[in-house]
Amino acid sequence: MSPEQIAEILKARFGDAVIAADMGAHPQVIVAAGHWPEVARFLRDEPALGFNMLRSITAVDRPAEHVLEALYDLLAMTPPEGAPDGYWTARHAFAVRIRVDRGDPHIPSVAHVWPAADWHEREAYDLLGIVFDGHPDSVEDHDGLHPRRILCPDDWAGHPLRKDYVFPIEYHGIPGTTEYETPNPVH
């Protein structure tokens, strides 16, 4: 199925929840954060779509637009017909982009749709600070209820992949790098 058809199906089913479609080199639709779990379940369960594999979640920080993005790369794999030992085929690949306000980034978790999302969402929280509501491995601390950190230590402050992140001067008595004055290059 072509990306245009997938976008059409989603628009027909969810209407305004599908905000925009981009059919460039990386075909995708932008979905409203609130509708994401139902769209996700539809993407997986609708026989015509059948996106059974979540390949990756990429979070992108766009301070100029005051937006944080999560980009979900999906793949539909189909078992071989007839011959049980044949090759599986790739039916189609598609991506979904969720854009949320950078000041209060909340996206509903889809770990119950694709278990693979569990660690990817923890990583996106850890490195970019997107809070995935309803994540199965959440903890509550002074930052509120959020997925448990995965790569950084649990008591790490801040989210390193944010464009305005400043490396800490010290962490538990371990000195950080202070010789570089510029925090991050500006794009």
């Binding site: 460039g24 080199a25 990386h26 059974n52 594999m53 979540l54 390949r55 990756s56 990429t58 992108v60 920080d61 980009l71 790369d73 794999m77 078992p79 071989p80 030992d85 044949g86 090759y87 599986w88 085929t89 790739a90 991506a95 694709w114 278990p115 693979a116 569990d118 660690w119 490195l127 950190r149 995965i150 790569l151 950084c152 230590p153 390193p160 992949l161 991050n184 290059p185 794009h187």
Partner: protein
């Protein structure tokens, strides 16, 4: 409860225990938290597992990762792509060529760079040789995990020869940075093709030797057969790729299912996990392997064994690539400050451990706006908690070893 589940799943154990007399004696046990790692020989790097145990039973195993975190993605958005290539070496450091390859392909797709024909063949040769080297480490260390020391020495003896070939080509033995944007950094040295053929002829019969040494060893089968079984639907849902997915019976390999580079020009098969008695496909002229009794599809033994069979096919691919190697340029002219157009690309390639993906966002400048690496080990490891439940303590090294994680890639 958990004990009942285990006794159901391990019939041998059940036969040894008289459950009624155990219940009559009222054997009480206490739960204990065991911290395994981050410095543990059988966790393959700095992986920490917190195990909740009841005697020998593991009720829950929670992986804690991040001990090797260097935030490679942050470095990626501060460097031009050709400067980031050495960082990709350090993701999956046992398969640096494959990492270079996938990252280069992603950048080439985004920026529209053409690669000369000769470079494409050299890339395939290097990627497949590295796949063999990586599977050899996996084979050797898995033997170590299971208490067999000899296979490790055999594996490293042969791996050394591949490293010598790499050293001849690019000067490095672990972090190559050889495959780069637009081709490879140097042409193949004189005599490389002959040396490579010599190695392949020497190496191919060795795989059967390994099988006789370890794969069909009864103790080894007892330790790994029907342990850590992953169902195919589970494997897909958890985003498993590579050997971990194929061992569950899903015949899926990007080299065949979504061919990239020039993989569609070569003849090769992709083996999958088979029930006892199954015969995986191997090239003509090598002894036919057979799946022994005591194993099942999706278990640790099948994951281990697929790597052995894949080495046969990597040898076959390298042979074909050497035969077809054309003359010509080894690298196209790529400007140092190659501008990345606005837009993004997501590209996945088949690494020894599964599908390595890069998402690169360009903003018109030579430095990418965002580089995301989707490491196969990261996704494969995420199922560990699911399959390490209700198994024996001694099964944990067998399961973690069979997933074959490289922490450099998990933590990035």
């Amino acid at each position: 409860m958990a004990r009942d589940v285990l006794l159901e799943s391990v019939p041998d154990l059940r036969a040894d225990l008289d459950r009624e007399s155990m219940a009559a004696a009222d054997v009480r046990t206490e739960e204990m938290l065991v911290n395994m790692g981050p410095q543990h020989p059988s966790t393959h790097g700095v992986l920490r597992l917190v195990l909740r145990t009841d005697g020998e039973l593991v009720l829950d195993a929670v992986p804690h990762i991040g001990y090797l975190h260097r935030c490679a993605e942050k470095i990626g958005e501060n460097l031009a792509p050709y400067q980031f290539i050495p960082k990709t070496d350090r993701l999956d450091y046992l398969a640096a060529m494959n990492n270079n390859h996938v990252f280069s392909l992603a950048v080439e797709r985004l920026a529209g760079v053409e690669v000369p024909e000769r470079a494409r063949y050299i890339r395939i040769i290097m990627a497949e040789l590295n796949r063999i080297a990586s599977h050899l480490v996996s084979f050797g260390t898995y033997g170590l995990d299971m208490g067999a020391f000899t296979p490790f020495l055999y594996a490293f003896r042969e791996r050394e020869m591949i490293l010598d070939l790499f050293e001849a080509a690019c000067g490095a033995r672990l972090t190559y940075s050889y495959i780069t944007i637009g081709g490879v950094t140097h042409d193949l040295p004189d005599g490389f093709v002959e040396r490579c053929r010599e190695f392949l002829d020497y190496f191919e019969p060795k795989i059967d030797e390994y099988n006789r040494l370890l794969s069909y060893n009864q103790i080894f089968i007892k330790r790994t057969g029907c342990v850590g079984v992953i169902r195919p639907d589970e494997a897909i849902a958890w985003g498993l790729t590579g050997v971990c997915l194929r061992a569950s019976g899903v015949r899926w390999d990007l080299r065949r299912c979504l061919p990239y580079e020039i993989y569609d020009r070569f003849e090769f098969e992709v083996p999958v996990g088979l029930p006892p008695g199954g015969v995986p496909p191997v090239p003509a002229g090598v002894p036919a392997p057979k799946v022994p009794a005591g194993t099942c599809v999706g278990d640790c033994w099948n994951r281990y064994f697929l790597r052995m069979i894949e080495m046969y096919w990597s040898v076959a691919i390298v042979r074909q690539a050497l035969d077809g190697l054309p003359a010509g340029d080894y690298r196209s002219k790529v400007p140092r400050n190659l501008k990345l157009p606005e837009g993004e690309v997501y590209f996945e390639g088949e690494n020894p451990r599964g599908q390595l993906g890069f998402l690169i966002v360009g903003d018109g400048s030579p430095i990418p706006y965002r580089v995301k690496a989707r490491g196969p080990s990261f996704c494969n490891l995420s199922i560990a908690r699911r399959i390490c439940r209700n198994c024996l303590l001694a099964d944990i090294p067998a399961i973690i070893g069979s997933i074959d994680v490289v922490m450099g890639e998990v933590d990035r």
